[in-house]
């Protein structure tokens, strides 16, 4: 019998892939494979044809130049991505894509970059970069460990929940203690490091919803990944 297939789409890997976003894809693919799924990996770059079957979407951060390259295309795909999110498709948007999933990003020079409004968040460019090891607390995922590096300051609207509460680091804006945003099965965050290798609960949330949405069930085999918990402990103990 053929293994069930999960179609995993990377959004804009050419222009929005920095700070180890590839690690998130590697982890999703491996954790799915270990549970008997075959992963079909798709890349979507500006101008490409959007694949017909998509079960899980991941996208990362980019330099400002990368954001400029994808913005028009992202706006053109906005309706489709909003519909998929509302339909429960799991997505992970890190850093730059998190910002562009919001309503708008106003840079520190006053330029307004329109986002797709998939998330009820808004970002303004800040005067300094918020950088360093970061630890969050989440009811949904437990302790979340990552590394933040952003100058945008993001404020959450009423339609989204925070991804976590900062126990170390600055988070969305350095003031309200929130980090990232949650909406339906969408997770958006400033955390990289990469995020998923050291946060298996988050990876499995995405995988579970991808499988359940497509097949109605998830083959939830517990995984024992070497060095995973030790890497979490060591990272959490490092200086900012």
């Amino acid at each position: 019998m053929d293994a069930p297939v999960i179609d995993l789409l990377q959004l804009y890997p050419r222009d929005m892939n920095i700070y180890g976003d590839w690690g998130n894809v590697l982890v999703l693919r491996k954790r799915l494979a270990l549970r008997g799924y075959e992963v079909r990996l798709h890349e979507y770059n500006p101008g490409d044809t959007f694949p017909e079957q998509v079960d899980l979407i991941v996208g990362g951060g980019g330099q400002d130049s990368g954001q400029n390259k994808i913005q028009a295309d992202l706006l053109a795909q906005g309706g489709r991505l909003r519909d998929l999110a509302d339909d429960g498709l799991p997505m992970l948007a890190v850093c730059g894509l998190y910002q562009l999933f919001g309503h708008r990003f106003t840079t520190h020079t006053g330029e307004v970059i329109t986002g797709i409004g998939l998330l009820d968040v808004e970002t303004v460019g800040g005067p300094t970069r918020l950088i360093g090891n970061t630890v969050l607390d989440s009811d949904e995922f437990g302790t979340i460990i990552g590394y933040e590096n952003h100058s945008g300051l993001t404020t959450l609207g009423a339609e989204v929940q925070p991804f976590g509460r900062v126990t170390k680091g600055d988070g969305n804006n350095g003031t309200d203690g929130t980090e990232g945003a949650r909406y339906r099965n969408v997770i958006a965050t400033y955390l990289h490091g990469s995020l998923l290798p050291k946060n298996p609960a988050v990876a499995d949330f995405l995988i579970r919803h991808a499988a359940e949405r497509r097949y109605g069930s998830f083959n939830d085999v517990p995984l024992d990944i070497p060095h995973e918990s030790e890497a979490r402990t060591d990272a959490a103990a490092r200086p900012r």
Binding site: I18, E43, Y147, E230
Partner: protein
């Protein structure tokens, strides 16, 4: 002013700081007197080795060369080096200064002293937690290019370096480059994901790869590189050399050094002497250093960013060697571990990695697990790992990929082993 130099202790910046405060014109005045001016070398990867090469190439042509000591690539460090080397009247006995400068600090330096020549090597993701973004770093190099008065030497193969040409105000730009068949060895950061995807079974979308236009004519092109043997195309002539440097990135930097030396020397260049000097250059401290332990070679390979790590893995075949990786995340290494996820480790799958160590050994172990690379031991205790690494398989050549502070610690520990002999 000379008395200030005696303040120098372990660190190199303190006397520089004092001199800077007492006499801000010290550096421009002293370096401004040099008959052949100042050369600035900057970029993310390869500064130290390239500077060493340029210094030795120019010395081989009979020039007296002043250079800054390793680790003092900040303005204050340069002031300290100048203080240490100048006579009682503040004169530097040199024809030319060749200075390795950190990108951000080079910007301050060129405001004080306009270089006659500059060599800009590459812009890679490196310690983004310090500079924020790669474009910021490119902006620093742009200011160096703009401040240079006579000639700027640029890497034709790095799109961000190539783009600096329009900032150059000097009358001359010279390029170093790679022949098309070698370009795949140097995927740029922007192409990295496609390079990674190319090796991924099941990846559906093809990378864009290749298709890069030829670009401007390069003065020196690296056209072949096999171990320590290299062929350069110089003015359309193929020149074969046998270097003491290994690693294709070091050899590419040799092309950069050749262009710069030829630019500085002009028609007076003694080419046979130039090539002889090049063949004698040994790696800089910690950059591909080769030690001998128990009669077996032990190579220390410094890795500090994804591009450098990928190049190093491509340069040194894993087969026949025992491999160790040591990853620290101290300030000088960069605290962010994300970069490890952008390095392709599949070349280590066959041999595996005997020891994974350093402060972030567990992160590295996790990274290798997700790449299906077998790992012997993961241990944050660097010295314990090192001793096991040597003792468990004494009769095999060894290679350690290490971050900067891990390398310093490993060297200290290796120095305690009486059987360690520094061979180069």
């Amino acid at each position: 002013m000379k008395a200030v130099a005696r303040l120098r202790g372990g660190g190199s910046a303190l006397p520089g700081l004092v001199a800077e405060k007492i006499d801000p014109q010290f550096l421009p005045r002293t370096l401004g007197k040099l008959p052949r001016g100042v050369v600035v070398i900057s970029g993310t990867n390869g500064k130290t080795t390239t500077t060493k090469m340029v210094v030795e190439l120019l010395q081989g042509q009979g020039l007296k060369v002043f250079t800054n000591r390793t680790g003092s690539n900040f303005t204050r460090g340069v002031v300290a080096s100048v203080l240490g080397d100048s006579d009682a009247r503040g004169r530097l006995d040199a024809d030319i200064a060749v200075l390795e400068l950190d990108e951000a600090h080079a910007v301050h330096f060129v405001k004080l002293v306009r270089p006659r020549y500059s060599l800009l090597l590459n812009v890679m993701r490196d310690q983004l937690d310090r500079f924020g973004e790669i474009e910021t770093t490119a902006g620093f190099l742009r200011q160096i290019a703009a401040a240079t008065t006579d000639a700027v030497v640029l890497n034709r193969e790095d799109p961000r370096i190539l783009a600096l040409a329009n900032a150059v105000t000097a009358p001359r730009i010279d390029y170093f480059g790679l022949a098309p068949q070698l370009r795949h060895m140097f995927p740029h950061d922007d192409e990295m994901r496609n390079a990674v995807a190319a090796g991924v079974p099941g990846a559906e979308a093809a990378g864009t790869g290749g298709g890069q236009p030829e670009g401007p004519r390069a003065d020196v092109v690296l056209s072949a590189c096999e171990g320590s043997a290299a062929t350069f195309q110089v003015d359309g002539r193929g020149i074969e050399v046998e270097l003491k440097l290994t690693g294709v990135y070091n050899v590419f930097n040799a092309a950069a050094a050749l262009v710069l030396a030829r630019t500085v020397l002009g028609p007076a260049v003694d080419e046979p002497a130039l090539l002889a000097s090049l063949e004698n250059v040994t790696p800089a401290f910690g950059r591909g250093e080769s030690l001998t332990v128990n009669g077996q070679p032990l190579d220390l390979v410094l890795v500090k960013n994804p591009a450098g790590f990928r190049l190093a893995l491509k340069s040194f075949p894993a087969a026949g060697s025992r491999t160790m990786i040591a990853i620290n995340d101290n300030y000088a290494d960069g605290r962010d571990m994300s970069w490890l996820w952008d390095v392709d480790f599949d070349s280590l799958r066959e041999t595996g990695v005997a020891e994974v160590s350093g402060v972030r050994a567990q992160d590295m172990g996790l990274r290798l697990f997700y790449e299906d690379v077998p790992v012997g031991r993961v241990d944050t205790d660097l010295n314990a790992s090192l001793h096991r690494f040597i003792a468990d398989d004494p009769d095999t050549p060894k290679r350690i990929y290490c971050t900067y502070t891990a390398m310093l610690a490993l060297r200290r520990e290796l120095g305690k082993l009486t059987e360690v002999e520094v061979v180069s």
